[in-house]
Structure formats: structure tokens, C-alpha cells
Symmetry: C2
Subunit: 171 residues, 2 copies
């Protein structure tokens, strides 16, 4: 028979871990529920259904529904079917490296991509300016062109680093 202090001490560690997960994702700009849900699943020995998450965390079903889908979207959580139960169950992907490779890096790449789109638009707009200027020397214009080129170069470098398998190999 377990001692009386065991359950509380265990529950406390568990609660702290879940809270830490929430703090982490919140500090990264995604809400705190995301991290809490992942932590909860990460510590669970068995798949958990949506309503159980709701009870455990004391948040709305709507939040859990959307958050869980996000997590599944980047492979941090997997849907699991339990026989004889029509509810959806979820379990955590415990391989952090896999989550990084499949999910997180994609998010970063996407942000980089939108930045690249903006740079391309500016480059076009700049070409128009250079065309209408046609041969005249203009200090500011030349600087803008040079700096834009630099920015694009760095953008490409980031892209290649993120695209290379080197980074994935590290995680």
C-alpha cells in the first residue's frame, strides 16, 4: 500500500511539469494550452480522449479541439483509435527530434518563405525605380540595391542551412 505522501508528491511533480510545458510554449508566442496538452500526453502511459484533457486542465473543449489539431499538424501528437470507443484518443510523439524535423522546422521555413516573397516584390519594385532612373548615378538608390542584395543573400543562406540535412542530423 502506497504511503499517504506519495500521491501528493507525485501529483505535484506532474502538475509542475505540465505548467512548465505551458510556460514554455507561451514564452514562444504560441498559447500556453498547447504546451500543457503536450506535457499531459507526454506523461500519460495511455492515450487520452479530448474530454479527459478538458477535465484535467480545466479549459474549454473548443481550445483543446483546436490546440490538439495544431499539435497533430506538426506531428507532436498522434490520433489513436481505441477499440470499442468512438471518441478520439491522442498520444504524444515522444521523439523530440522527430517533432523538430517534421513540425517546427517547417514552421520556420514557412516564415522564411513569406519573408522571401516580400524581398522578391521589393526587388521588382526596385528594378522599376532603376529603369526610370536609367544611367544616372544616385547614391541612395545604389545603397538600397546593395543592401537589398545583402538581405537576399542572407535569406538564401538561412534557407540552405534549414534545408540541409545537417541541422536535422543534429536534432
Amino acid at each position: 500500500m502506497p504511503s499517504r505522501t506519495l500521491p501528493e508528491a507525485f501529483a505535484e511533480s506532474r502538475r509542475a511539469f505540465i505548467e512548465a510545458g505551458g510556460n514554455t510554449t507561451q514564452s514562444l508566442g504560441m498559447g500556453r494550452i498547447i504546451g500543457q496538452i503536450y506535457a499531459l500526453l507526454y506523461l500519460s502511459p495511455r492515450p487520452i480522449c479530448l474530454d479527459e484533457i478538458v477535465d484535467e486542465l480545466g479549459v474549454s473543449k473548443a481550445s483543446v479541439s483546436t490546440a490538439v489539431r495544431q499539435l497533430a499538424g506538426w506531428g507532436a501528437v498522434k490520433r489513436v483509435w481505441v477499440k470499442g470507443d468512438r471518441r478520439d484518443f491522442y498520444e504524444a510523439e515522444t521523439d523530440f527530434g522527430a517533432i523538430m524535423r517534421n513540425g517546427v522546422l517547417d514552421v520556420i521555413r514557412k516564415k522564411l518563405s513569406t519573408a522571401g516573397t516580400q524581398l522578391a516584390k521589393i526587388e521588382e519594385s526596385l528594378k522599376a525605380a532603376q529603369a526610370s532612373h536609367n544611367g544616372e548615378a544616385n547614391e541612395e538608390l545604389a545603397l538600397l540595391a546593395a543592401r537589398l542584395k545583402r538581405a537576399k543573400k542572407f535569406h538564401d543562406k538561412l534557407n540552405s542551412v534549414l534545408g540541409s540535412s545537417l541541422l536535422e542530423h543534429l536534432l
Copy 2:
């Protein structure tokens, strides 16, 4: 004499670049002013004083004051003294790699560090639980211990990757 369309086309490119900077930093969870200020300085052939930034961007002096200090904090912007002018002038650090190494990575490392602190606290709390339990086998407790260990291991891995000069060499 410059053609009439040159100034507008130039200004448009410039405006778009500044806006792109704002969009980028905003999408990264830091405000949009930060990126706008950096972009403005990045495109300027000469150091710029605080009030000029205020005029150019149409934001409050308070915002510029704090934002500029943040930028200077992680080496993205340098204070410059102009002789015969007691105002503070600023210019951009144009080496993105240097900004990454000196500023951005430190921010990430700091976030990692606070996460590590939380993990350490949980580990201690868990040790207490294990002590009071003293020899009994408990599935949940064992799982929590195992998963915590995994989490710490990954945390350490991230730390070493960020600490290694390899990453800095890439940027």
C-alpha cells in the same frame, strides 16, 4: 536632373522594405516597430537620430527609445556620436551573421535556460516523491521519471548545439 518618377519609385521600394522588416519581427512575436527601425537604419547611408526615426515612422518617441535600446542590447544597432551634436545617433549593424551570434542566439539560450531551471525544480520535487515512496513499484511514477529524464536529455542536446561553434560558423 532626376526624372520625375524616380523619387516615388525609390521611396516606394524603401517603404516596402521597412514594412517588410516590421512584418518579419511582428510575425516573430516581437513588435513591428523593432523591425521597422532596424530596416530604416539598415537602408540609411548615415547615422540617424531618435527624432528622425520618430518622424520617419510616425510612432511615439517612447516606443523608439525602448526599441532602439533593445536593438542595441543584442548588437543589431550601434550608438554613434556625431561631433557637435549632443543627440544620440544610431546605425545598423549590417552583418546579419554577427547579429545572430551576438544577439539572437543569446535570447534563445536564455529561454532554454529558464526551461532548464524548471526541469531542475521538477526533478527535485520528483526525488522527494521517490523518497517517500521508497522501494515500492509504481508505474506512473516510473514513467514520469523516465520521461523527465528524456526531456532533460533533449534540453542538454539543444544547449550543446547552441553552445557549439558549429552553428555560429554556419551563420
